[in-house]
Amino acid sequence: MSSTATVVNKEESVWAGGKSPFAVSYGKVMMWLFLVSDAFTFSGLLISYGLVRYSNHAYAGNPEDFAFSQDWWPIPEKVFEAVPFLHGVPAPLVFVGIMTFILILSSVTMVLAVEAGHRMDRKAVQKWLLWTIFWGAVFLGCQAWEWAHFIQGTEEGSIIKAFGGVFHGANLSFNQYGPPPFAALFFFITGFHGTHVLSGVLLNFLIFYNTAVGTYDKRGSYEMVEKVGLYWHFVDLVWVFVFTFFYLI
């Protein structure tokens, strides 16, 4: 460029070019922007849940006398009260509570992997990534069990006029727990989150593989672990919101 245009003092503005204004790499900024867009997607889903729930009648009676009906929205803790190996023992929210702790734990092991990456400690990165993959897989297993139980339903089931008799469990048309959108939203929201966990586990495996073969040592930086770590924490973050808005409230 001509020398007359260089009036701006480059040292004064971080936006003048030649350096990273956010003081993070391009890849990390892009991961953050992707997460913002993903946050909008999940917000859309959870807020739609709020809309549909608000547009249905709430159960007005005493919580102890609650029974499933097509006329009112179910109380979540009456729906999700089963725990594996404890058949017939009502334990409301215990299983999702365990799932929440599993995901928090996997987030911690991911931070420890990132921290080890900063120190270029390949062995520690491998160890913590394996733990993260393990807890991620355990979470997916729990979710599979939860879905299977939700679809199968209870032995009693409940009478649905539109179905023409007693219906057990749930599909996209009917469910024994309440109005049809309840099951549809359960499948969509937890399913969409589960898909994120699944792709998170696959990405974790990918960076575990790259770590093990020494790609990042050769590159001189473990930043890829940080970027995938951001995604993994985001998945944990979404679960925190799903846990509150779908199960607690």
Partner: protein
């Protein structure tokens, strides 16, 4: 793995115990908040107050995950605002769709 010559040049830094403890401290806080949520779920009658407490505790958890685990709290202010500001739109959507929901209930 020793076939890669470059790997031998990598210098592993020692562990900073304070940093590790900080990570576990955040994890313990998240765990304790979750336990508090459970206690409230079983001891408090449902209502507006209970829902507000749940949402407040959720936001505290979200803050710790984003600020500490995702390290956003230690980034540049411009980056923080770039990420947080667009999410204000979500608040509008919450308000709009909740009103819409109760309007649908009225005509049902």
């Amino acid at each position: 793995m020793e076939l890669h010559e470059d790997i031998n040049e990598v210098i592993v830094q020692p562990v900073d115990k304070a940093k590790i403890w900080q990570i576990w401290k955040v994890a313990i806080i998240l765990g304790i908040i979750t336990i508090i949520e459970f206690v409230i779920a079983f001891t408090m009658p449902s209502g507006g107050l209970r829902i507000s407490i749940f949402i407040a505790l959720t936001l505290v958890k979200a803050f710790y995950i984003v600020a500490e685990f995702m390290h956003l709290g230690h980034e540049k202010k411009t980056l923080i605002y770039t990420i947080i500001m667009p999410l204000i739109l979500v608040l509008w959507l919450i308000g709009a769709l909740m009103m819409e929901g109760s309007a649908i209930l009225q005509v049902r």
